[in-house]
């Protein structure tokens, strides 16, 4: 996808987008390497020192995966990379297709906002009940569940950005920040 309003990148939006994008890449990398490290450690301990095997390896690597997947959502939305069914797309007239794509961005923003709101309620509940994991880590579950409202909240904002870019194309500077 190329931008027609090719203003030279470099404005504040461009720089903010670039910084956030790199932050996202850095966090996901740390999570991925974290999972690899945990699994490597588990393998070594099981072979050489089984008594030292922690009971939270599976748990923590699952949390890292879930956070990583949720933090990927807003980037998928910004890049328009979510998979769509194109079975009948050729039968739909161009004009209607444009209207649908506007509708999709509005619906996406609303849906993700609802899931984020529900996720916030779930976090709040887990926090209030003091819910912990049943391993020796006794991990506070609200910190895990928080991945859902954060991921979907950011995805909702990403849809809003795409909507805003329809009115103010200059906002599309974020595109220039993509690797």
């Amino acid at each position: 996808m190329s931008d027609t309003n090719a203003n030279t990148p470099g404005g504040p939006i461009y720089r903010a987008a670039k910084a956030l994008g790199l932050l996202n890449v850095a966090i996901l990398s740390i999570f991925a390497l974290g999972i690899i490290a945990i699994k490597f450690n588990e393998t070594l301990l099981r072979v050489f020192y089984p008594r030292g095997l922690p009971d939270w390896g599976a748990e923590v690597s699952t949390y890292l995966m879930a956070w990583g997947l949720m933090l990927s959502l807003p980037v998928l939305v910004l890049r328009g990379e979510n998979i769509a069914a194109d079975f009948l797309i050729n039968l739909i007239p161009e004009k209607v297709r444009k209207a649908i794509s506007l509708g999709e961005e509005i619906a996406g923003a609303i849906f993700c906002a609802f899931v984020a709101w529900g996720g916030y309620l779930a976090v709040e509940l887990a926090h209030r009940l003091g819910q912990i994991s049943d391993t020796s880590l006794q991990f506070p579950m609200w910190m895990y569940i928080l991945a859902v409202p954060v991921g979907f909240g950011l995805a909702s904002i990403a849809y809003l950005l795409r909507l805003a870019a329809r009115v103010r194309p200059g906002i599309k500077f974020w595109k220039g920040a993509e690797q």
Partner: protein
């Protein structure tokens, strides 16, 4: 029916918990003249075991019967039946604790904290047993240094640390493969569960029935569902449960008994510990109990009263 409540269970249709809930549903339908119907969903088709309690709190399902092990993350005191003091005791003795004031107190704490209604006394699965694929286990001392699969639950993990074994958490569904590939060769489970999964095919050859701990299920109704029922229906549910629960427990015990026989027929050698071994191991474990209770943030005073209920004849 005027009132339909959904029941979400994470075990298969023939499991004792599901069979009991079906009988309960039939009886409720009969006693309510067709006004009160339970619709049962098996095999975790709606919620998985660890997720049932949260779904009840949030009002996403009407009835759930979660295991104690899955309630510990909300109320630590639900771990009583997994503590060392339970070691080696028959179910009749355990009922002194779970059906008396101590049990009532735990149920009240659950109701208060989760906002659910508990129908009554717990349903039984039975005693856990140690199974092994590679060598006979005759005393708990044979567990030293061994990797043992446990279903999870902080109290269970701690107990195995006292045995100086290495407890590893493996989900029930992953167990056959873990056994076949020798990821573990020793597991903690019940006879009924081993029978239902035909774990002899996965290599299980020995069983050691030292009655380490006991598995129970708590019948719960969500606040939303309970609130929709008129008082007479609420009474009917509780009364019917009270009338039937002893029968369900006896059936569970009978099933475990039958399963031992089936497991034997499929080549599993079942050993019972002698009295001295049991009492000695119990002493060892009891010494570690205060530490476990503190680690899990259980109420030491409640645990003391529970212990008293278990030792009073």
């Amino acid at each position: 029916a005027d009132y339909t409540l959904s029941v979400s269970l994470d075990t298969g249709p023939t499991h004792i918990r599901n069979a009991s809930m079906r009988l309960y549903a039939e009886e409720l339908l009969k006693r309510s003249d067709g006004k009160l119907e339970l619709e049962i969903f098996d095999s975790a088709s709606r919620y998985r075991g660890p997720d049932v309690a949260t779904a009840l709190v949030q009002g996403a399902i009407d009835i759930g019967v979660p295991a104690d092990q899955h309630l510990g993350k909300f109320v630590a005191n639900t771990g009583l039946l997994l503590l060392p003091m339970v070691y080696g005791l028959p179910r009749e003795t355990l009922y002194n604790m779970t059906d008396g004031p101590v049990g009532d107190e735990v149920r009240a704490e659950l109701e208060q904290k989760l906002g659910v209604t508990i129908l009554g006394r717990s349903l039984d699965l039975g005693h856990g047993t140690i199974f092994s694929a590679d060598s006979l286990i005759a005393t708990p001392a044979d567990l030293v240094g061994r990797k043992v699969r446990v279903p999870g639950g902080a109290a269970t993990l701690e107990r195995y640390r006292v045995f100086e074994a290495n407890p590893v958490q493996i989900a029930w569904s992953d167990l056959p493969q873990a056994l076949e590939r020798n990821t573990v060769s020793t597991i903690w489970a019940t006879h009924e569960s081993v029978r239902s999964a035909k774990l002899w095919d996965a290599g299980i050859k020995y069983a050691f029935d030292d009655r380490q701990a006991y598995v129970q299920y708590v019948p719960m109704v969500s606040a939303a569902a309970w609130g929709k029922l008129p008082e007479d229906m609420q009474m009917l549910m509780k009364d019917t449960w009270e009338d039937m629960v002893d029968g369900f427990r006896d059936t569970a015990a009978q099933r475990q008994f039958d399963s031992v026989e089936i497991n034997r027929q499929n080549g599993i050698t079942v050993l019972l510990p002698d009295a001295t071994t049991t009492s000695q191991m119990r002493e060892n474990l009891l010494a570690a109990q205060p530490g476990i209770v503190a680690e899990l943030n259980m109420d030491p005073d409640l645990v003391d009263r529970a212990k008293a209920a278990l030792t009073a004849e």
